[in-house]
C-alpha cells in the first residue's frame, strides 16, 4: 500500500473519531449542566474548550466561555481546526482522493454529513435542538464506521483506519479524565453525577455497571476508563487495538515496544493516588507518549 494512501486512511480514522467525540462531549456536558444548578455554567463550558485542546484558539476569539460561544466554536466554527465541522471536512478531504477504493456508501454518507453540518450546524448551538442534532451526528458517525467495519476487507487499509481511530480515542480518553478528575473536587452528593457524566460521555454506563460495579465511584470509574480490557473506549483497550494493527506490519519493533511500556505504565498506576494528587501530570505523560507513537508511525509508514 502506498504511504500516502495509508496516511490518508489513518487521518480519516482520526478525524471521524474526533468528530464523534466532540459531539459526545458537547451532548453530555449540556445534559450535565442542567443537573448541576450549583455549578457555574461557565466552568462547565470552559472545561470543554480545555478538553479539546482549543483553549488558546478560543482565547483568540476574545469571547467569554458561555454556552453559545463555546458550542458554536466547537461544533460549527470552520476557523477552529478542531471543531466538529472541520473534523468532518478533513475526514472528507482525506477520503476524497481514495474514495473509489471504498464502498460508495462511505463517500455518500460522509458527503451527506458534511452537507448536514453546513446546513443545520446552527441547531447544535440552540439548546432546544442540540440534543437531537448531536444524536444525529453521533449516529451518522457510527454508521460511517459501521460501513467500514462491515464491508472493508481486513488488511492494511482497515488496520490504518483502526489505528487512527484508536489513537484518537485514546487521546480523547486522557483528556476527559484529566479535566473531569481535576475539576471534580470531592464534595458530598454532587460527585456521583460527575463520574456518571464521565461514563456517559463514552457511552460506558451500562458496561461499567454490569462488569465493574453497580455503584458509581471514583476509583472504579477511572480504573474502568483507563484499563478495562473489554470496553472499547478504555485507554488500554485502544492501545491493544493499535498494537494488533502494528503487529500486521513490518518495521514495528519500536512502536510495539513503546505501546507495551505504556500499557504496563497504565496497568500499574495506583488509581486512588492518582485521584488524590490530581491526574494532570500522568495524563500529560500519556498524551506525550501517544504523540511520540504518532511520530514513530508517521516516520516509518508515511
Amino acid at each position: 500500500m502506498l504511504s500516502r494512501v495509508a496516511e490518508n486512511i489513518y487521518w480519516m480514522g482520526r478525524y471521524l473519531e474526533r468528530a464523534e467525540n466532540i459531539a459526545r462531549l458537547v451532548s453530555v456536558t449540556s445534559t450535565l449542566l442542567l443537573d448541576q444548578p450549583g455549578v457555574g455554567p461557565e466552568q462547565g463550558w470552559r472545561r470543554l474548550v480545555i478538553i479539546t485542546g482549543c483553549d488558546a484558539a478560543f482565547a483568540q476569539t476574545g469571547q467569554r466561555a458561555g454556552e453559545e460561544a463555546v458550542t458554536r466554536f466547537l461544533l460549527s466554527e470552520s476557523d477552529n481546526v478542531s471543531s466538529l465541522f472541520s473534523s468532518v471536512a478533513y475526514a472528507r478531504e482525506n477520503l476524497r482522493a481514495m474514495r473509489d477504493s471504498f464502498p460508495g456508501e462511505l463517500w455518500e454518507g460522509l458527503n451527506d454529513l458534511s452537507l448536514f453540518l453546513k446546513e443545520q450546524g446552527e441547531k447544535g448551538v440552540e439548546a432546544a435542538y442540540r440534543h437531537d442534532f448531536l444524536g444525529e451526528v453521533i449516529g451518522r458517525c457510527q454508521t460511517l464506521v459501521g460501513i467500514l467495519v462491515g464491508t472493508l476487507s481486513r488488511g492494511p487499509a482497515f488496520d490504518f483506519f483502526s489505528m487512527g481511530q484508536h489513537m484518537e480515542r485514546a487521546d480523547m480518553c486522557t483528556r476527559i479524565l484529566d479535566v473531569d478528575v481535576a475539576t471534580g473536587h470531592p464534595t458530598r452528593g454532587g460527585m456521583d453525577l460527575l463520574w456518571l457524566n464521565l461514563l456517559r460521555s463514552v457511552s460506558g454506563e451500562p458496561m461499567y455497571r454490569r462488569h465493574v460495579n453497580p455503584r458509581v465511584n471514583a476509583v472504579d470509574v477511572v480504573s474502568f476508563l483507563l484499563r478495562d480490557r473489554r470496553f472499547p473506549r478504555a485507554f488500554n483497550f485502544c492501545l491493544y487495538e493499535v498494537e494488533r494493527c502494528l503487529n500486521t506490519l513490518d518495521h514495528n519493533a519500536l512502536s510495539v515496544q513503546l505501546l507495551k511500556r505504556m500499557e504496563r505504565r497504565v496497568d500499574t498506576q495506583d488509581v486512588a493516588t492518582l485521584i488524590e494528587t490530581g491526574p494532570a501530570l500522568f495524563m500529560d505523560e500519556l498524551q506525550q507518549e501517544l504523540q511520540k507513537l504518532h511520530r514513530i508511525i508517521t516516520a516509518i509508514y508515511f
Binding site: 500500500m1 502506498l2 504511504s3 500516502r4 495509508a6 476524497r96 482522493a97 473509489d100 477504493s101 460508495g104 463517500w107 455518500e108 492494511p156 490504518f160 506490519l249 513490518d250 518495521h251 509508514y301
Partner: protein, 483 residues
C-alpha cells in the same frame, strides 16, 4: 408514437444512419428497424433510464474544482453510432499505419534526422516546435516506440469519407467514457446485443496492461507498473482512477515516487521503497521532472528523466513524443508514411495547405474568406481564424501575420462533420454532428479499440463536440454484417 423518419431534418453533412432517401445505410438496417419498433415514447423512457444509470454510476464521474466537487450529469445520447466492420477494418489498418509512421518519425527526429536530411521534412518546422525535447536526443526506447497510446480524432466529410483531423500523442483521454458508454448501452438496449454482432470494447484495459508490461526493462515478473496522475484536481482524474482500478495497478502521484542512488524509480509504501518498472504517466512532459523541466513542478519526480534516459524505467508515452503532436507536423504525416513505410496512406488528412510553400500560401491568401487558418503552436483554438465568420479587418491582419511568418501557419477548408440521429430535449430525433476518437496502442504489438469515443455536439447546428461546450457522447458500434 412512431418515428417520422421521412421528416428527419437532414443537414448538409453526411448522415451515418440514413441515406438521403430516408433509408437505413448498409449495416444499419437492424438498428433502424429496432428503433422504429420501439417508437419515440419508449426511446424517451430508455433515455431517462440511461440518465438514471449515469447518476447511479455518476459518483465516479465528477468535475473537481478547487475546494468543491461538482457531480456532473454526464451528457450521453442513447442512439448508438454505427460503423460497418468492413469499413472499420480499413480504418484500423490506416490508424496503425499512421501511428507506425509517427513513431518512426519521432525516433528519427531524436536520432539521425534522415527525413530532414533527405528534404522530406523542413528543418525550420522542427526548429520552431514547442514540443521538441533536446533531453530526448539519442534515446532509443523499447521497440522504437515513443507514442504507445494515441487518440486520433476522425471525422467524416460530406462524401462520407473518413479523414484524420488530428493525432493526440501526449496524454490522450476519453477511453473510460468509451467503456462506460458501452456499459450503459448494454443496460438500455439489451435486446439489440442479442441480435446484432457488435464488437466488444471491454478488453481495452487488458490490452493497455499488456502494452505497458511488455516495456518493463528488467526481468521482474510480473513487472511493477503504476499509473501516474497529476492528482485529484485534474479534469481526467476519474479516468486515471478508472484505468488504474481496471488494470489492478497503483495510482500514484509524483510525491509517491523517488529516484534512488542507483537511478531506479521507487514508490513509497508502508513496507518501504518498492521498485517501479513502468510508468503510465498522465502528466505532461514539462511537469515530469523538476530537475529537467519546470523546476517548481510539484507534480513530478526529481531524477525521473535521468532514470528513463538510462533505461531503468519505461514511460508511456515516452517524454518528447509530443513533437509529432503539432498542426504543421500533422500536415506532413502523409509524406512520412510514404517516406518511412513506402506505402500510400490508407487514411487521408483533412486537406491542409502549408503556408511555408509558395503555392499553398498564395492559395490561402486569396481564399481567406473560405478557409480556417491555424497557427502551429497554439491549441484550444487560440490564434485561429475562421475565414467565413471573420471580419475584413481580421482577415487582413491574419494575411499580414502569414506573410511575416509563413512557416507557422496552416489552412484547412471549413470542415463539415457527419451527423447521427440524436434524441433532442423535445424528445424527437434530429441530426447532430459527431466526431470519433479511436485509441491506438503500439508497443510490442499494435491494436485499435473497436470503435472509440463518439463525441456529439448536442446543440442544433453546432460543430463543437467538446464536453465543456455542450458536447456529449454516444456509444460506437462496429457491426459485422453479412455480405
Amino acid at each position: 408514437m412512431t418515428i417520422a423518419w421521412n421528416e428527419y431534418p437532414f443537414t448538409s453533412g453526411h448522415d451515418e444512419l440514413l441515406t438521403p432517401e430516408y433509408l437505413p445505410r448498409a449495416g444499419a438496417e437492424g438498428l433502424h428497424r429496432y428503433l422504429t419498433q420501439l417508437g419515440l415514447e419508449e426511446l424517451q423512457a430508455r433515455q431517462r433510464a440511461a440518465e438514471d444509470t449515469i447518476l447511479n454510476l455518476g459518483i465516479t464521474f465528477t468535475v473537481y474544482s478547487q475546494g468543491d466537487n461538482i457531480d456532473r450529469a454526464w451528457p450521453f445520447d442513447i442512439i448508438p453510432r454505427l460503423i460497418p466492420l468492413k469499413e472499420w477494418t480499413r480504418i484500423e489498418q490506416g490508424l496503425i499505419q499512421r501511428l507506425t509512421a509517427l513513431n518512426l518519425f519521432i525516433g528519427d527526429v531524436y536520432g539521425a534526422q534522415r527525413i530532414i536530411k533527405e528534404g522530406v521534412f523542413p528543418a525550420e518546422v522542427l526548429a520552431m516546435s514547442r514540443n521538441f525535447r533536446p533531453q530526448c536526443v539519442g534515446i532509443k526506447p523499447a521497440f522504437g516506440v515513443w507514442a504507445h497510446v494515441c487518440g486520433s480524432d476522425l471525422i467524416r466529410d460530406r462524401d462520407g469519407r473518413i479523414l484524420v483531423l488530428e493525432d493526440n500523442l501526449r496524454v490522450p483521454s476519453g477511453v473510460s467514457y468509451m467503456l462506460e458508454n458501452r456499459l450503459i448501452t448494454k443496460r438500455v438496449f439489451p435486446e439489440l446485443f442479442g441480435t446484432q454482432s457488435i464488437l466488444p470494447v471491454d478488453d481495452y484495459p487488458a490490452r493497455l496492461y499488456d502494452t505497458l508490461a511488455a516495456l518493463a526493462p528488467a526481468g521482474r515478473d510480473p513487472p511493477r507498473v503504476v499509473v501516474l496522475t497529476p492528482g485529484l484536481y485534474n479534469s481526467a482524474y476519474f479516468e486515471h482512477v478508472y484505468l488504474a482500478q481496471r488494470m489492478g495497478l497503483e495510482l500514484v502521484e509524483g510525491r509517491d515516487l523517488v529516484v534512488g542512488e542507483d537511478d531506479r524509480v521507487f514508490m513509497k509504501t508502508i513496507s518501504g521503497l518498492q521498485p517501479v518498472d513502468v510508468i503510465y504517466r498522465r502528466v505532461d512532459d514539462l511537469f515530469l521532472d523538476p530537475e529537467v523541466f519546470v523546476s517548481d513542478s510539484m507534480l513530478g519526480v526529481p531524477g525521473l528523466m535521468r532514470s528513463w534516459r538510462l533505461g531503468r524505467v519505461a514511460m508511456v508515452n515516452a517524454p518528447g513524443a509530443g513533437v509529432a503532436d503539432d498542426k504543421v507536423v500533422y500536415a506532413h504525416v502523409p509524406e512520412m508514411i510514404r517516406f518511412y513505410l513506402g506505402e500510400e496512406p490508407i487514411l487521408s488528412n483533412v486537406p491542409t495547405w502549408k503556408c511555408l510553400l509558395d503555392a499553398d500560401r498564395d492559395h490561402v491568401l486569396t481564399r481567406l474568406d473560405q478557409l480556417v487558418v491555424k497557427p502551429a503552436n497554439e491549441s484550444g483554438g487560440y490564434g485561429m481564424l475562421i475565414g467565413p465568420m471573420a471580419s475584413r479587418a481580421e482577415r487582413e491582419e491574419m494575411a499580414a501575420r502569414i506573410k511575416a511568418d509563413p512557416r507557422n501557419y496552416i489552412a484547412q477548408p471549413m470542415i463539415s462533420l457527419s451527423t447521427v440521429p440524436t434524441l433532442t430535449e423535445n424528445g424527437v430525433l434530429e441530426p447532430r454532428h459527431v466526431d470519433l476518437r479511436p485509441f491506438i496502442l503500439q508497443g510490442k504489438e499494435s491494436s485499435v479499440t473497436a470503435g472509440g469515443l463518439t463525441r456529439v455536439a448536442l446543440r442544433k447546428g453546432s460543430l463543437v463536440v467538446n464536453s465543456s461546450q455542450g458536447g456529449g457522447s454516444k456509444d460506437t458500434w462496429i457491426v459485422a454484417t453479412e455480405d
